[in-house]
C-alpha cells in the first residue's frame, strides 16, 4: 500500500545534486534540480545496480558513476547505452521544509 515517507530536509541536498535515502531495505535517490524542484527515483542504476547517489547531476540528468549511463530523473527515461531500461520514479512533495516521497 502506498504511503508518504519523510526522506530528507530540503537543505540536505544541494541544488543540482542527489543524495541517498533508504527505507525498508530499499534504496532511493533524492534529487534537487537547479530550479529547486525535488524528485525521487530508485537508488540503483538499471544497468548494473550501482548507486546513483554517487553520480553526477547535470540539469535534469543523472549520470551513473560506474559506466556513465544517463537517466532523465524527472521522467525516469533511460537516455542511451549502456542504460536501456528506464529507472522507476516516485511522487515527491515538500511540506514544512521536509521532502516526502510516496513509496509502495
Amino acid at each position: 500500500m502506498a504511503s508518504w515517507i519523510a526522506a530528507c530536509g530540503v537543505n540536505d541536498v544541494d541544488p543540482e545534486d542527489v543524495i541517498p535515502f533508504s527505507h525498508d531495505g530499499v534504496d532511493y535517490a533524492i534529487y534537487r534540480s537547479p530550479d529547486d524542484e525535488y524528485y525521487a527515483t530508485d537508488g540503483h542504476c538499471t544497468h548494473e545496480k550501482t548507486l546513483l547517489c554517487d553520480g553526477l547531476v547535470m540539469g535534469r540528468v543523472i549520470e551513473c558513476p560506474k559506466h556513465n549511463g544517463r537517466f532523465d530523473y524527472v521522467s525516469g527515461k533511460a537516455l542511451g547505452a549502456p542504460v536501456l531500461e528506464d529507472v522507476r520514479t516516485y511522487p515527491v512533495t515538500v511540506a514544512d521544509g521536509t521532502v516526502f516521497i510516496e513509496v509502495g
Partner: protein
C-alpha cells in the same frame, strides 16, 4: 599448458561462469574515499578544454595531411604523413575512449560526434566497443569476462609485435565489418551487446564499408595510393603509439582482482604525451572514478595518491617493469607485478583468496564443464 591458459580468456568458455560463481563478475571494487563535494567538482564537465584540444588535434592532422599532399611523390612527404598517421591511427584511441565515456564534453552531441569519428578512425564499431568497454570497466582483467585484455598470460608476443603496425587489428576489423554488414555478431560480442542494440552495429558496418569502397575506388580510378594513405591506411602505418601507450595500462599486472591498484598503472608522462593520450596515463584514477573527465584526472590523482603505489615516473620506467614481467609470464603464468603501497594507504582489497592477482584456476561450475565436453567425475 599455454593453450589451456589462453583459453581462460574466452568469454564463451567455462571461465565466464566460473568467474560469476566465484563472485568476481560485477564485483565490488575498492575505491579511495573522496569527499562528495570534491568529487562533484572533479566530475563537473566543461566544453572548453576538449573543444580546444580537438581543434588543435584536427588542425594538426589537416596541416600534416596538407603538407603531405603538397610533397606527394617526394620523400619529403614521409615525415608529414608519419605525423598525420600517428595522430589518426594512434591518438584516435584516446579520443574514442574519452568520448565513449561521455566525459570529454558537457555538450552531448559534440561528444557523440567525436565518438563516431574516432571510432571510424581507430576501426572500432562504436556500438560493440561501447559495450566491450563497459564490460572492461565492470570486470577489469577478470578472466572470461573482460574482452579488452591486451596482454594475456602467456603473452602472444608475435601477435603483439606485428600488431604495432596494425597487422592483426586491421584485417580483424575488416573481417568484423563484413560479418556485421551481413547481420551477424561474433559469439563474444553476443555475450555483451544487447539484442536491441545490434541493428546499429550492422548499419555502421555497411556505412564504413561504403566509405572504404569509395576510398579504394578513388585510389584505383586515379592510380594513386593517396586516398588510402589518408583514410584507413594510417591505422596501419600510424598505430605504433596506440600500443606504446596502451600497454602501460595493465600489462603484467594482477588478474581476477577487485582492486584497480593491483591490475592498473598510473604513469607520469610529459605534456606532449598527455595531450596525445588525453591523460589516460592516470589510469588507476580513471578506473576508480570513470566519471572524471580527462582534464581533471591530474587533480584526481592528487586526491587519491596517498592510497596508490607511487606513479611510474616515466614511460621508460613503466616499460622497465613491463617487459621483464611479460617475458617471465611466458614461463610462469602466476607471476604478476605487485607493488608496495605507501605507509597509511588503505590495504589492498582482497575479499577472497582468489583475488590475489595470480588468477589461480577457479572451481568451474559443472554445467560449464559439461558444455566444454569434459563431464566432472562422479
Amino acid at each position: 599448458m599455454n593453450k589451456e591458459r589462453l583459453e581462460r580468456y574466452s568469454l564463451t568458455g567455462p571461465e565466464n561462469q566460473a568467474a560469476v560463481a566465484a563472485g568476481l563478475a560485477t564485483g565490488d571494487w575498492f575505491r579511495s574515499a573522496v569527499p562528495r563535494k570534491r568529487m562533484k567538482e572533479l566530475m563537473r564537465r566543461s566544453d572548453y578544454p576538449a573543444i580546444r584540444d580537438t581543434v588543435i588535434w584536427l588542425g594538426l592532422m589537416g596541416l600534416f595531411a596538407g603538407l603531405g599532399i603538397a610533397f606527394w611523390g617526394s620523400w619529403r612527404a614521409v615525415p608529414f604523413f608519419l605525423a598525420y598517421g600517428l595522430l589518426y591511427g594512434s591518438t584516435s584511441d584516446s579520443r574514442w575512449h574519452e568520448a565513449g565515456h561521455g566525459t570529454a564534453f558537457r555538450t552531448r552531441w559534440i561528444d557523440q560526434g567525436l565518438y563516431q569519428l574516432a571510432s571510424f578512425m581507430i576501426m572500432r564499431d562504436p556500438t560493440t566497443w561501447r559495450w566491450s568497454h563497459t564490460r572492461h570497466h565492470t570486470d577489469t582483467l577478470i578472466l572470461g569476462r573482460d574482452p579488452e585484455i591486451a596482454v594475456m598470460r602467456p603473452a602472444r608476443l608475435a601477435r603483439l609485435l606485428v600488431n604495432v603496425v596494425g597487422l592483426i587489428d586491421v584485417p580483424l576489423a575488416f573481417a568484423l565489418m563484413f560479418r556485421h554488414a551481413a547481420g551477424r555478431l561474433t559469439a563474444d560480442e553476443a555475450d555483451y551487446v544487447p539484442a536491441t542494440e545490434r541493428h546499429k552495429v550492422y548499419r555502421t558496418a555497411r556505412i564504413d564499408l561504403a566509405i572504404y569502397a569509395v576510398t579504394i575506388g578513388l585510389a584505383v580510378g586515379f592510380r594513386t595510393w593517396l586516398p588510402v594513405v589518408l583514410i584507413g591506411g594510417p591505422r596501419l602505418y600510424g598505430a605504433l603509439l596506440l600500443y606504446f601507450y596502451s600497454f602501460t595500462q595493465h600489462a603484467g599486472m594482477g588478474e581476477n582482482v577487485l582492486d584497480y591498484r593491483l591490475n592498473t598503472r598510473t604513469v607520469k608522462m610529459c605534456r606532449l604525451n598527455r595531450f596525445l593520450y588525453w591523460n589516460m596515463n592516470y589510469h588507476v584514477e580513471h578506473h576508480m572514478f570513470p566519471m572524471v573527465p580527462y582534464y581533471r584526472l591530474p587533480d584526481l590523482h592528487e586526491e587519491v595518491k596517498h592510497d596508490l603505489a607511487p606513479a611510474y615516473p616515466s614511460i621508460w620506467a613503466a616499460y622497465k617493469e613491463i617487459i621483464p614481467a611479460v617475458l617471465r609470464q611466458l614461463r610462469d603464468q602466476e607471476y604478476y607485478v605487485r607493488r608496495e603501497l605507501p605507509p597509511g594507504a588503505a590495504p589492498y582489497y582482497q575479499p577472497a583468496a582468489v583475488n590475489d592477482g595470480r588468477a589461480l584456476p577457479l572451481a568451474v561450475p559443472s554445467a560449464a564443464l559439461w558444455l566444454r565436453g569434459s563431464r566432472p567425475a562422479g
